[in-house]
């Protein structure tokens, strides 16, 4: 009898698109981690004698240079690092807040649940883009670290959906017999939470992380904020910012916009297909694979 993990892996491996997605995602993560080793040039080294070199013209700049003569390939490579760092950091923050408040609301119920519920309603009704921009403007006063600022701005509006998810799961699991059994044997709340309820949360949470409410959503949010100039600051490269900055030159130099757009699309594609396969693999009742 294979374990549930082995079964899930078998279902996952049957997904061709999922494997491709996993390969793309791992590729981007590797590029992000080893960026300083792979990039042919520093991302911030300007050369005003070689601005806007088109791709293929100079062997030392295979994808050309931007308007300040910075190597485009190197900036794309470091851009992967910025994009994934922001997305991963937002994910960690949002998960922790979601687990904490979700457990509180689902486990304690009553007044706590009511207050958290109202809070979720209000945060959920806030206009997202405007608030992200305002939070960025507000935090810029206190810190120069634009990565930190962007992470806080995105996370500040993204957590409610995780609280809802955790709360719903906690409320169903806490009524189950094994929780009652554990409690009658003298188990404390913390023990039950970690040993009995947390394992029931991993499946739904992994699905959320790889879906549009998770990493792909955060990658998109960072790119959008940076595109409008409310995100990552120079000299750090961000794909969204590279696209936004290239608008002025797009009639003559399309490579400046095209390559960051393609990077963004490829990364989103990879993570999405990976997430879709994971969802099918982790949910044994899922019909697509089960029907084969």
């Amino acid at each position: 009898m294979p374990t549930s993990g082995a079964l899930a892996w078998r279902r996952f491996a049957r997904h061709r698109m999922g494997l491709i997605g996993a390969a793309i995602t791992i590729g981007f993560v590797a590029v992000a981690i080893f960026a300083p080793l792979i990039a042919p040039h520093p991302y911030d080294k300007t050369n005003l004698f070689k601005p806007t070199v088109p791709p293929g013209r100079l062997p030392e700049h295979p994808l050309g240079t931007d308007e300040l003569g910075r190597d485009l390939l190197s900036r794309l490579i470091f851009g992967a690092r910025v994009s994934l760092t922001v997305a991963a950091a937002v994910q960690v923050v949002v998960l922790m807040v979601g687990l904490l408040l979700g457990f509180a609301a689902g486990w304690l119920g009553g007044v706590v649940d009511f207050v958290i519920g109202r809070l979720l309603e209000v945060i959920g009704a806030l206009p997202g883009l405007l608030f992200q921009m305002l939070i960025v403007l507000l935090l810029q006063r206190y810190t120069q670290d634009s990565v930190l600022v962007v992470v806080v701005a995105i996370a500040a509006l993204a957590w409610p959906i995780y609280v809802r998810l955790v709360r719903a799961q906690v409320m169903t699991v806490k009524e189950r017999e094994f929780v009652e059994a554990a409690r009658s044997l003298g188990a404390g709340t913390a023990f039950i939470a970690v040993r009995h309820i947390l394992p029931h949360l991993t499946g739904p949470l992994i699905v959320a992380i790889t879906s549009a409410i998770g990493l792909t959503g955060f990658i998109t949010a960072e790119a959008t904020l940076s595109f409008f100039g409310y995100g990552i600051n120079e000299p750090l490269p961000s794909w969204g910012k590279m696209i936004g900055d290239s608008v002025r030159f797009i009639q003559r130099f399309q490579h400046l916009a095209l390559y960051p757009v393609l990077c963004l699309m490829l990364l989103i594609l990879g993570v999405s297909f990976l997430g879709d396969a994971l969802r099918d693999a982790l949910d044994p009742t899922s019909e697509r694979v089960g029907a084969q």
């Binding site: 405007l130 399309q254 019909e287």
Partner: protein, 310 residues
């Protein structure tokens, strides 16, 4: 029903008030303001005068309360960036554009999405289902910036089939194509996935089996029984989508240089035009909250199995 409506309206008022208060508070604490003296230096007296005129010398909760009282009477104040015009009038002149863009986008994306979902469900586990599901997945997660710039580079700059930007619905309808398509793509994916799942669920129901067993042809079962029941849950998905078009799409309007509410709002953030931003926030939140309320009522009316409880 009346008690339900009443309690929902109380909740709705609470949400709108909280959102407006939070917006006001955070705008108040953001550095920079409309009278930063970048354009011209002001004497302290003149500055105090202007601040008094716009009520900026009051504590912020007083400013908020005053603003809300005026807004309730339809007066959203005077725009900082266009000091000669009222926010309400400005909004009206930009709104038509955003509503046209949103309306046209929904007009093609809603039927397309639902149709794709139904086809995928009926052709389940075939290559067509795989293709539609993959397309739907990609349109849900792909950032709008990517669609906008790929569209502009390929169809405007390389192939020269469509104009790069602009919005002249009557003179040059080709300017509508890319904005309307890119704005609707996300909706197509969302609806296709939802419709596919809904259709599969309905097809597994007892009444569908009964209808088949009594000899109804499959097509009639789908159109008469399955489709109707599948469309009900889609109402819940549609309401936020429809509410969204009231605030326009900042990205689409910015990318294609369209004079709509979304673009107007970006200028408002840049110019710290608080009265303008407040108006957009209030309208957007109200539209969204109301749409959820309408959904719940509609849902109960469409599906007699659902009883509203409190």
């Amino acid at each position: 029903m009346m008690r339900f409506l009443f309690s929902r309206l109380v909740g709705l008022t609470f949400v709108i008030l909280s959102v407006s208060f939070l917006t006001f508070a955070i705008m108040y604490s953001v550095p920079g303001g409309p009278f930063d003296e970048v354009d011209m230096p002001l004497s302290p007296e003149a500055k105090a005068n202007i601040r008094a005129k716009y009520g900026l010398d009051q504590p912020f909760y007083v400013q908020w309360a005053r603003y809300m009282l005026n807004a309730l009477q339809g007066d959203f104040g005077v725009s900082f960036t266009f000091p000669t015009r009222k926010v309400g009038d400005l909004m009206w002149s930009y709104w038509g554009t955003s509503l046209l863009l949103g309306g046209l986008s929904l007009a093609w994306s809603i039927p397309t999405g639902i149709a794709m979902g139904i086809v995928a469900a009926l052709k389940r586990n075939t290559w067509l289902d795989g293709l539609i599901s993959a397309l739907a997945l990609v349109t849900v997660t792909m950032p709008l910036i990517a669609w906008i710039f790929i569209g502009q580079i390929v169809f405007a700059l390389q192939l020269r089939w469509l104009p790069y930007s602009g919005w002249r619905p009557l003179e040059d309808p080709r300017t509508l194509v890319m904005p309307v398509i890119s704005f609707g793509l996300g909706t197509v994916g969302q609806l296709a996935r939802f419709a596919r799942a809904g259709m599969l669920e309905v097809l597994g129901q007892d009444y569908v089996r009964t209808a088949r067993a009594k000899g109804l042809p499959f097509e009639r079962v789908v159109t008469k029984h399955a489709m109707r029941n599948m469309l009900i849950p889609i109402v819940t998905l549609l309401s936020p989508i429809v509410a969204n078009i009231f605030t326009g799409s900042a990205l689409v309007e910015y990318g294609f240089v369209i004079p709509g509410i979304g673009r107007f709002f970006l200028d408002g953030v840049y110019g710290r035009d608080y009265p303008l931003l407040m108006a957009i926030v209030l309208i957007g939140t109200t539209a969204l909250s109301l749409s959820y309320l309408i959904t719940d009522v509609l849902y109960a009316m469409l599906d007699p199995r659902i009883r509203i409880s409190h």
